[in-house]
């Protein structure tokens, strides 16, 4: 009996410590935006909204969120479109070298990371005149996400039945009609997952835009956030806290949406 009680006390102490460890760093983001004259130390907010004024006054803050959106959506659209086409063909048509190609894709996506490729990607962007080009950055980000996206989508398409396509074909639909009217509706949850995955990836990405966009008007939220706290003397805490919050909220909303709708699953090669 005593052992049981000690066990329970131990359990709740451990849980409390763990919760403190994960909560304390986040408190500032919840409190400082609504505290007048915030400091580094977390204090009880007085629920003012005047700090948000700082965002409107800052010349690049709102623009950078728009840039983040542009990069994230642009990349996601390209990734979903190109990965869906490739994954569909790889899933339905047995071509020579298919398995080797898939193995190579999986290998590539895990070894060529931003860290390993930053030097040549920077060089490539200089040579191709893609420095300060948002389209160039979108293409580079797309290239990096495509292998994993194709791999995940191919798995998804392998598990959808082929019988609908076969019957559509019996009724004389052309291959492109079949893809557009039969396959896309069938795999829509998979496409949505990949789209959200790509958006989340690009929204939080710091290294690539930091490397390739030097024009402050084109930089996304991640780079502006970093600039706000590293450059220019005393950090502007009302601005940093409100901007950090606004920049984070979409990620949290997206996560809640996905976990509610599909149930949260791993992204990345953990499915086997």
């Amino acid at each position: 009996m005593t052992r049981h009680i000690v066990g329970r006390i131990g359990f709740y102490t451990l849980i409390a410590l763990l919760m403190a460890f994960f909560t304390v760093p986040l408190l500032w983001l919840a409190a400082a935006p609504f505290t007048s004259d915030p400091t580094y130390e977390v204090s009880l907010p007085d629920f003012t909204f005047t700090n948000f004024q700082a965002i409107l006054e800052h010349p690049y803050a709102l623009g950078s969120l728009y840039n983040s959106l542009l990069l994230a959506v642009g990349t996601a659209v390209l990734v979903v479109l190109l990965a869906a086409l490739a994954a569909y063909a790889l899933s339905r048509v047995r071509m020579p070298g298919r398995d080797a190609l898939l193995y190579a894709l999986l290998l590539l996506s895990s070894i060529i990371t931003g860290t390993a490729a930053m030097v040549p990607l920077f060089q490539l962007a200089v040579e191709l005149n893609l420095i300060d080009s948002q389209l160039g950055l979108i293409l580079i980000l797309t290239g990096g996400l495509l292998p994993a996206a194709i791999f995940m989508l191919k798995d998804f398409m392998d598990s959808t039945p082929k019988s609908y396509e076969e019957s559509a074909r019996v009724f004389g639909a052309s291959p492109l009609q079949i893809v557009g009217h039969v396959v896309v509706p069938l795999v829509r949850p998979g496409l949505a997952t990949i789209g959200v995955w790509a958006i989340a990836n690009v929204w939080g990405n710091f290294l690539m835009p930091y490397l390739l966009l030097s024009d402050i008007e084109k930089q996304p939220g991640a780079v502006i956030m970093f600039t706000l706290y590293t450059e220019g003397g005393q950090a502007n805490l009302p601005l940093l806290s409100t901007f950090g919050l606004l920049y984070s909220v979409p990620v949290v909303l997206m996560y809640l949406f996905v976990s509610k709708k599909y149930g949260f699953r791993f992204h990345g090669g953990i499915k086997r």
């Binding site: 580094y40 130390e41 030097v119």
Partner: protein
């Protein structure tokens, strides 16, 4: 098409939409083109660049010369490189292999047969640390660890303790443990669901203590998951650039893990050739870990 009408069944199941190889190739081509230009080519080029004396500016920028293995020899005899390599080992072992695995498993184990709000809140907090943008959480930790006004020093009652200046490695290790535990927690949560309850029950009836149950029943069942988890988070942590956002490698290179080292040498210092040689070494290490991981996946399936 003639063949399709004579053996409709056989053709259809091999190619349900009747795409045919040429059209299938056309479907694959755009994706492959982007991957080739922006992923494969840079990886190959970095190997070549590592063999030149390429610099960001100056004479060697205009006409880079082939210098063979000089950069690699220089890297292997360079103190800065070994300093970074050793810091990277500490970072990966400390924050991923020990921090994230132990914490992730502990949370999954504590919450294994619970439902309801406590489980949701704890998991939600851990996942929140994982999904928030790196630039935001880095600043949150800078605020938390601030020497004079930071919340941590106020809580611990040690004003003036300079975490990021005096203990930069410890700071980024704890930071990355906090940041990345979610993945391990979810993986072990799923793995523990696969341990048959009857095995645990019979161990308990035989009088096994908590630790004995873990060792004799749980670990053998989730060994594959542990290995998968270790390889993946080691790979990710090894390539993680986020420490740059917290300490930028400083002070005095004391937290300059390899990912940050490459940036500082190649893009801040302008020595692209040398930076490319270090990148090649990173690529090779990634390759070894990834091949191990893929072998593991194959053996399982």
């Amino acid at each position: 098409m003639a063949q399709a009408t004579s053996h409709p069944k056989a053709r259809y199941s091999a190619d349900a939409a009747g795409l045919g190889t040429p059209r299938a190739a056309a479907f694959i081509a755009p994706a492959m083109a982007l991957i080739a230009v922006f992923l494969v080519f840079p990886a190959l080029w970095v190997i070549y660049l590592g063999l030149t004396n390429y610099r960001l500016t100056g004479l060697a920028a205009a006409e880079p010369q082939f210098v063979g293995l000089d950069n690699f020899v220089k890297a292997v005899s360079d103190e800065g490189f070994w300093n970074s390599a050793w810091l990277t080992v500490q970072f990966v072992l400390g924050s991923a292999v020990i921090g994230q695995v132990v914490l992730g498993f502990t949370i999954a184990w504590l919450l294994r047969d619970r439902q309801g709000p406590l489980k949701r809140v704890v998991e939600g907090l851990v996942i929140l640390a994982w999904i928030l943008p790196g630039a935001v959480v880095s600043f949150l930790w800078i605020a938390l660890l601030d020497r004079d006004g930071g919340t941590l020093n106020a809580l611990l009652g040690i004003p003036g303790f300079a975490w990021l200046l005096d203990h930069p490695m410890l700071s980024i290790i704890i930071f990355n443990t906090w940041r990345g535990t979610a993945f391990s927690m979810m993986l072990y949560g799923a793995a523990l669901g696969n341990v048959p309850p009857s095995h645990l029950e019979s161990a308990r009836l035989a009088g096994a203590s908590g630790w004995q149950q873990l060792r004799d029943v749980v670990f053998p069942h989730i060994r594959g998951h542990i290995l998968t988890n270790l390889l993946l988070i080691s790979l990710w942590t090894f390539n993680d650039f986020t420490p740059f956002l917290l300490t930028a490698g400083g002070p005095d290179h004391k937290s300059e893990v390899l990912a940050v080292h490459v940036y500082n040498v190649a893009l801040r210092g302008g020595e692209l050739g040398f930076g490319a040689a270090v990148s090649t070494i990173i690529l090779l290490i990634n390759l070894v870990v990834a091949v191990f991981y893929l072998r593991l996946l194959r053996r399982k399936s």
